[in-house]
Amino acid sequence: MKSIITEPMIPKPFRIHRKLKETHDTYTIELESTNGADGFPFSAGQFNMLYIFGVGEVPISISSDPSMPKMLKHTARSVGTVTKALLNLRRGDILGVRGPFGSHWPVEEAVGNDVVIVAGGIGLAPMRPVLYSFISHRDKYGKIILLYGARTPEDLLYKKELELWRGRFDLEVKVIVDSASGNWRGNVGVVTTLIPRIQFDPLHTVAMICGPEVMMRYTLKELQNCGIKNENIFVSMERNMKCGICLCGHCQFGPKFVCKDGPVFCYDHIKELFGKREI
């Protein structure tokens, strides 16, 4: 996908149009271009470098609908200096955007197949654009199953949308949390335990996983046990980033660069690297 930014190292100013609280530490911010540009074309799974002036820059996945490029959304969790500063910004404040960067989820390649999406924690954010794409071309796919794990019911992202998706007869959505108080009626346990509970055609299924690496490792094992082939499993990797355009080497992952070759990788292409300690 061609970036609208001609100089990939120069951030373009965007204004915060809306800021929506998702959980106690996570917000979705909606951005609009300050120069009234047409929009911001991107593919599901790509990320932007968001620059908070005077503080720093962080890679954050785009969490909005790729078919609505005028509404650019990012869902970010406050974990450190830059993300805290990002989420302290208010409506009307300006930040810098570079992107979109990186590879995308295999939305086209999955046509005609069942799709199993497994997301953990903030990992649902880069998955939301994929879900939007699948929903708007629903007849092109077999079963679409979303398995989503979070820490507690209070940590679930996109609660209203999850309810809407769960209400659809053509999507199967299962949510699970690590622990909950007694009044939670949903599932409790780890997201991998949901996999034996779903039915799909393993030979014609594309699986997409996004979450903490340890969660992805166990999810992979479970999906492989079900018979999904490595070449049909896709994972999204995270590494520290600086340039976002394969210049600085910060995001190196063995012979790959997460900013250019990733963040979405076919598992078959990285199976020798995945989970290796020295990488």
Binding site: G121, A150, D178, G182, V190, T192, P212, V214
Partner: protein, 152 residues
Amino acid sequence: MQTLEPYLAEHPFLKGLDPHHLNIIVGCASNVSFDAEQYILHEGEEATNFYIIHQGKVALEIFTSDRGPITIQTIGEGDVLGWSWLIPPYHWHYDARAIEPTSAIALDAKCLRAKCEEDHDLGYELLKRFAHVITQRLEATRLQLLDVYGVH
């Protein structure tokens, strides 16, 4: 009781069991059902049964004085509930509450323990199957303990 046999014979937990052993298990089994919110077992009580969940959802809870009941796991169709009946002093270590109307097959613990003492092959088969369930739960618990979604 006869009607339970085909279901138990096909259940993943018991599949492949020698027909003679399956007959013994069927002899210790009965159908039970629980309303939503009904407690199936309580921490500290004697483990008189274990259950194979047929339909519904059950929360395994630990009661804490400051936070009330905390759900540590939910189980559903096809899952096995409880292994405390196998391990002395045969007391439950948590509460189990149906959070949806739930039907299950209850297996009488005293009856099965006696049969396992008489027939060690049956005991070994059951222990192997429970070891598998316990390993899966242990693996899941370890992942939960890692708090993978927390900020580290």
